[in-house]
Amino acid sequence: MTKDECKKVVLDIIADIAPDEDLSNVKPEVRLRDQLQLDSMDFLDIVMELRKRHSIEVPEADYQQLASLDSCAEYLTPKFNALAAKG
């Protein structure tokens, strides 16, 4: 998986949990919280959906890694690839 594909995965999840947000202009380097109205319940949902849909575990200590799309991609892409390698 590429980092761009990973960002798409995260955006798809946000689109489902917050359908009332406009995601057409999300800046990857800016914190999601600063450009969208997402609260701690929504971030918990991003984590829960990653587990449900993709079997990706994000321990609570790492939640801050999900701050922006760029940081999501940095943190999650290796996890996706490790999972794919395991088959």
Partner: protein
């Protein structure tokens, strides 16, 4: 034990909070079953049929209404968390509501879903108080009302820092208390904030079909996520060992097991099931209500009652929110006219509905014989309706009788009979357990006694407890 009798989570009660908790948990793959003793879902916000006519109980109006695009409020959080599209609830806004005080409602504050209307009414009726009122509203807006650890502060004390006119103070407390306070005379400030926002800063709405529409959406969602439910099957006992719930004994005598148990039935009611001795037993709420329902053969507008959706009334010098010594206290109450939501040009409720709610004393109703119960209902139906009509445009008794197709009334006894809540206490115990903790490690409370108020609050309570105790922990 067969494989079907173990669940990740067992939920007691299929009211708003239990259903919402169930949806969250089932959506994330938990094996969930809701056990409900009654044959209908909804708990304190349910419905029933008599003679082919459907009656709603509980819900006057869904509070917390905000228009599309307003985010970060309880309604938006709820829709996101349950993956519900707001169009599914088909909410229609109130026309206007009033707080009417004085023997004939001489002092009246109108409010709508636009807060500026309420603020300008306060400015006109209480010019000396408006600066203090604005300061109070700023404090309310800034208050973190969803914190699970908020310190307990008297709402009366906070309000008196900003307002000096007891009439205005009482006029603010009346709606806020009637729509959610389990405590007499005063409230915890955090609870006041939740209700003030829900009623005034947000607003009232309702689906044309009333509470049934909301319940249907929740049920469909729950079914689609794979949740199970068992109706007419209550929980009789919660068995425990070493501080953990180990099994539930159902009304059928069956035993089921679950890793976690969420109970929406109330703190005292749950304690009774566990038979565990606790240092501080939960307190049963002192407040109950009666409600009269009058079905009319015409739209209320035809009687001149077409403008007000909800009226909170009080005829006395001070507003008294306490357990009455008599069966009912008709001095104050709430009028609801469900026809007076803006359903649009092509939709209307087929019949007129006029509902009046007043404070009542459970003990005075609980032990009556059949005949005394029937005659008490007749007596207080007339008293409550008579009291409320003082705050509406005058309609002759003969005209109202001629327009009346049917009447019904619920009492504190009805509430306990159908919901299992002790003391007919719709708003539960005055002592809330914000974190939902009980004497058992894996048994949590949600709903009324967890302490988020109103039906949106009830659903958020189920969501919060499912998140906090189960989903967040993996």
């Amino acid at each position: 034990m067969n494989s079907h009798s173990h669940y990740d989570v067992a939920i007691i009660g299929a009211g708003m909070s239990g259903l919402a908790a169930g949806i969250r948990l089932a959506h994330f793959g938990k094996r969930v079953c809701i056990f409900e003793r009654h044959n209908a879902v909804g708990g304190l916000n349910s419905f029933y049929s008599i003679g082919g006519r459907k009656f709603d109980v509980g819900l006057h109006a869904m509070t917390n209404f905000v228009r599309p695009g307003i985010k970060g409020t309880p309604l938006t959080k709820l829709l996101r968390q349950l993956r519900i599209d707001r169009a599914e609830f088909a909410l229609c806004e109130q026309k206007q509501s009033r707080i009417a005080f004085g023997p004939r409602g001489e002092t009246s504050l109108r409010f709508t879903n636009d807060f500026v209307v309420f603020e300008s009414e306060v400015a006109v009726q209480f010019p000396a108080q408006i600066d203090g009122f604005r300061r109070l509203v700023a404090v309310i807006k800034a208050f973190d009302d969803v914190s699970l650890d908020a310190a307990s502060v008297s709402a009366r004390a906070v309000i008196r820092e900003h307002l000096t006119d007891p009439l205005l103070e009482d006029m603010l407390f009346c709606p806020v208390m009637y729509y959610g306070s389990a405590q007499e005379h005063d409230m915890e400030f955090g609870q006041f904030v939740i209700m003030f926002k829900a009623l005034f800063l947000e607003g009232f709405a309702r689906p044309l079909e009333g509470v049934r529409m909301i319940l249907r959406v929740l049920l469909e969602k729950y079914r689609a996520t794979g949740g199970e439910r068992r109706m007419k099957c209550g929980v009789q006992r919660i068995l425990s060992r070493e501080g953990r719930a180990t099994a539930l004994v159902l009304d059928t005598g069956e035993e089921i097991t679950a890793d976690h148990v969420i109970s929406s039935i109330g703190a005292s009611e749950t304690e009774r099931l566990t038979a565990a001795s606790t240092a501080e037993p939960a307190v049963v709420g002192p407040l109950s209500f009666v409600e009269t329902i009058t079905i009319l053969d015409r739209q209320p507008a035809a009687l001149g009652w077409g403008s007000d959706t909800i009226i909170f009334f009080n005829d006395s010098p001070r507003f008294t929110y306490e357990q009455p010594s008599a069966q009912v206290d008709p001095r104050s109450g709430v009028i609801c006219i469900p026809n007076n939501f803006d359903y649009g040009p092509d939709q209307a409720l087929p019949e007129g509905i006029f509902r009046v709610t007043c404070l009542a004393n459970y003990e005075q109703w609980a032990h009556l014989g059949d005949e005394a119960y029937r005659s008490s209902k007749l007596h207080w139906f007339a008293e409550a309706q008579h009291s409320a009509r003082r705050f509406l445009p005058a309609v002759a008794d003969e005209t109202l009788s001629a327009a009346t197709l049917a009447t019904d009334m619920f009492t504190p006894r009805t509430i306990t009979k159908f919901t299992g809540h002790f003391g007919g206490a719709i708003y539960g115990s005055p002592v809330k357990q914000r974190r939902g903790l009980t004497a058992l490690d894996n048994l949590y409370l949600c709903g009324t006694d967890q302490g988020f108020l109103g039906i949106v609050g009830a659903m958020l309570s189920g969501i919060s407890m499912a998140n906090y105790h189960i989903l967040q922990k993996g």
